[in-house]
């Protein structure tokens, strides 16, 4: 494999990791707020906080890893995205900052505040919406380059149906992934009331995810036909994604094997996300940046890959320990520890 393909695959894997763990986190924030206003709090909120407290910082690092790695492997992206995304990027950062800190303030600080929880819940939906615009922009058509530099065509973005379909997909996916995970977690915790609520959510948000995906495809076809053609060549990946979606929905509907069901949801998104990513290539930012054209020099590339492998040797055992202590430790999940 060539350096640029290794690089982009690694980054895409981490973005996928972020997609899953952050969706759980973002959605959980929304559900926690929902529980507060619908007065079902005592059931669900404990559950959510037990899962989230030890891991929220780790979630954030997935994101940091992605953007630092992107600039490292493909320095030209810093130039284009940096210039273009100042405003949307700043908005996303501010939302992330509010979310992370108010989570800590609310959770570790002694007083429970509905305002903190509201900020936490609302940002959970706004962040995926604002981050998803980076993917939309990567399809081209929203940046103009001339002798004065790169300009971001905000008007185009806000009036584009494609862009809104991506936002819609991002939000419903967050709720769907989160609900299916929390159903599983509630099941492990033997917290049957919460499980019933979360199961309903998981079933409810399943269909909109598929509808939103189809809308994105339709939007892509008119917005970037080239990409759409390449996606059709990879139809089997999207097909697999649909199959996993159906299995997951079936299991949750039949009230069994919630763990496997969540695994199916992960696979559903894995294939959709990698199908999208693979068909996006060779462009990172259409039509300005391709992976070949923007990859970092070979020396640095090899150094980064080496560090990455060494880093994984450190991370995988640590992550395993974290999951064993908090996710797979039945007593902890049930609140006995």
């Amino acid at each position: 494999m060539s350096l640029e393909i290794i690089g982009i695959t690694v980054l895409w894997l981490f973005l996928y990791g972020y997609l899953i763990v952050a969706s759980i986190d973002f959605g959980a924030g929304f559900f926690a707020y929902y529980a507060r206003v619908s007065k079902k709090e005592h059931i669900m909120s404990k559950l959510i906080s037990r899962y989230l407290s030890p891991v929220w910082e780790v979630t954030n690092v997935f994101f940091v890893f992605f953007f630092v790695g992107l600039v490292g492997f493909f320095p030209d992206t810093a130039y284009y995205y940096g210039t273009a995304l100042l405003l949307p990027g700043s908005v996303a950062i501010i939302l992330i900052a509010i979310r992370g800190s108010f989570y800590a303030f609310g959770n570790y600080g002694s007083k429970d505040s509905t305002l903190y929880l509201f900020l936490y819940g609302a940002t959970g939906l706004l962040i995926p919406a604002s981050l998803s615009t980076a993917l939309t922009i990567s399809e081209g058509g929203y940046l103009r380059e001339d002798e004065t530099g790169v300009t971001f065509l905000a008007g185009e973005l806000f009036t584009s149906p494609y862009s809104w379909s991506v936002v819609f997909l991002a939000i419903v996916s967050v709720l769907y992934i989160s609900a299916s995970f929390l159903t599983y977690y509630a099941d492990r915790a033997e917290d049957y009331d919460s499980r019933a609520i979360m199961r309903k959510f998981a079933l409810f948000w399943g269909a909109p995810t598929i509808i939103a995906s189809l809308m994105v495809f339709a939007g892509l076809r008119s917005h970037n036909g080239e990409h759409f053609e390449r996606a059709l060549d990879l139809w089997w990946m999207f097909g697999l994604s649909l199959v996993f979606f159906l299995i997951a929905g079936y299991l949750i509907f039949k009230k069994k094997n919630y763990g496997t069901a969540f695994l199916m949801v992960m696979l559903q998104f894995f294939f959709a996300f990698f199908g999208y990513g693979a068909s996006h290539l060779p462009y990172i930012l259409y039509p300005f940046i391709t992976v070949e054209g923007s990859v970092v020099n070979e020396t640095m590339g090899i150094a980064l890959v080496t560090v990455f492998i060494l880093g994984l040797c450190l991370l995988i055992p640590s992550l395993y320990l974290l999951m064993r202590l908090f996710l797979f430790d039945a007593d902890y999940v049930k609140g006995k520890k």
């Binding site: 780790v58 600039v71 100042l86 900052a97 800190s101 640095m300 150094a303 980064l304």
Partner: protein, 446 residues
């Protein structure tokens, strides 16, 4: 008058984010060390006081970490958003430590998560103590990696530019550039020192307010002893930094010292004022001391600003930043030394009111010294973003929206700062340590 163009606004935004982030970053690097020490002593001596100390410090730490993480994420993205051309060039050469830093974050975040939620989960308490090690290593490594990037901006090496192309790249040479050793040493020791002094200041404040108990006395003895050691380390590292500057980046030292002509036996100028003809008045002058500072001998020749073209000289006001940083360093060394001396000499009372007030002041002062030090280091690099290679003007974004972003971020930092303080105050106000001690360790047993 400042001209508020895109470049200036980008500088202001970068500066305000870093000035805010570094408060939490410093605490993030230093507090884990203090927690590890307290828990260690507690286990070694079977003393619940120290264990509770570690526990309460860790609880406050969760709040500052959160703000550190989110502002760090902000600065990480802002580097690309505000300095795209810089990142495009620098990315080719210095991406390695930035990338490694994310692994250090990962490592720290994972073990911090485990640490905070497993106080009573292990039968063998030493297992819990062991979790401190990856946290301390992760935090200090983050500081190490980011400081190498900053060092690279001051003394770039490890590449050649031929026809506008960066070639012959050596990531390790870029990382271990001449500025790296002294900078890393100074940044890490000053973080440890500042964290110890902040904890000491809080404790001294409580003792002064007559709410102090044995618990607080032990805490103050521990933090002040640590502060003495770390202050000495900081001063040593600062001295080495000055020697490094004299050799590799003389214009920065010369600007800080208002040293215009290259000469040996150069005087050290402390405070004072300067007019437009570079006439200095009201200063304290120590003959020959600058030469001594730069090279351990009065004969050392110190390069003056006259060897640099006008437009490549840093602004002269960094002199005050430097002096205040050094002044605070001396003050901290003095006050920590005094307290520790009183501790060991029975005749003196280390709980003397004046001394305690001096300690209360030392915490915020140390944090100010961190800020002054960074402002000196960064402004002293002007007009370069990559010394000798790229100026700040060339690096900034061409986007027209920096002003709006600046406003938004200032508001964000105000809100975060306000709530952070508020939450921390509330966290400890209603939970005196005595009650918690009795609850967690009934009858003083472990």
């Amino acid at each position: 008058m400042l001209e508020l163009d895109g470049v200036m606004l980008s500088r202001l935004l970068t500066a305000s984010t870093l000035i805010f982030h570094v408060i939490f970053a410093t605490i993030g690097v230093g507090i884990p060390v203090m927690i590890a020490i307290a828990e260690f002593i507690g286990l070694k001596k079977n003393d619940p006081h120290y264990l509770l100390l570690a526990r309460r410090w860790a609880r406050g730490f969760t709040i500052t970490v959160a703000v550190g993480v989110v502002t760090g994420t902000a600065i990480g993205l802002q580097l690309s958003l505000l300095w795209p051309s810089f990142m495009q060039v620098a990315g080719q050469v210095i991406a390695l430590p930035l990338f490694m830093e994310t692994f250090a974050f990962f490592f720290e975040a994972i073990f911090l998560g485990i640490y905070l939620y497993t106080w009573d989960r292990f039968k063998n308490r030493w297992l819990h103590w062991l979790l401190n090690i990856p946290i301390v290593i992760g935090a200090s490594l983050s500081a190490f990696f980011i400081t190498t990037v900053n060092a690279f901006m001051n003394t770039p090496q490890g590449f050649d530019i031929i026809d506008g192309e960066t070639v012959n790249i050596s990531p390790l040479a870029a990382m271990f550039n001449p500025a790296t050793p002294t900078k890393v040493f100074h940044v890490i020791t000053s973080s440890y020192m500042t964290s110890a002094l902040i904890l000491a200041a809080i404790t001294a404040f409580i003792i002064l307010a007559k709410k102090g108990t044995d618990y607080h006395k032990k805490a103050l003895r521990l933090t002040m002893t640590a502060a003495l050691i770390f202050s000495a380390g900081t001063a040593l590292a600062g001295d080495l930094s000055a020697k490094f500057l004299a050799k590799e980046q003389p214009e920065k030292l010369a600007a800080a010292e208002w040293h215009f002509e290259t000469e040996s036996n150069a005087d050290l100028i402390i405070f004072g004022t300067i007019d437009e003809n570079n006439e200095i008045s009201n200063e304290i002058r120590i003959p020959g001391m600058l030469s001594f500072l730069a090279g351990n001998s009065f004969d050392t020749e110190v390069i003056g600003l006259d060897e640099f073209p006008e437009e490549e000289r840093p602004p002269l006001w960094v002199h005050y930043m430097f002096d205040m940083m050094v002044g605070i360093g001396m003050y901290s060394l003095f006050i920590a030394g005094l307290f520790v001396m009183f501790m060991f000499i029975k005749r003196f009372n280390e709980w003397n009111k004046l001394l305690l007030m001096g300690i209360v002041a030392s915490g915020p002062l140390a944090m100010l010294a961190i800020e002054f030090g960074w402002i000196y280091a960064e402004v002293g690099r002007q007009p370069w973003i990559l010394r000798g290679i790229m100026t700040v003007d060339e690096a900034a974004t061409t986007s027209g929206s920096v002003g709006i972003a600046f406003g938004l971020f200032l508001a964000l930092y105000a809100v975060l700062g306000f709530f952070c303080v508020k939450v921390l105050l509330r966290m400890f106000k209603n939970r005196p340590p005595e009650a918690e001690l009795e609850k967690r360790f009934p009858g003083g047993s472990l």
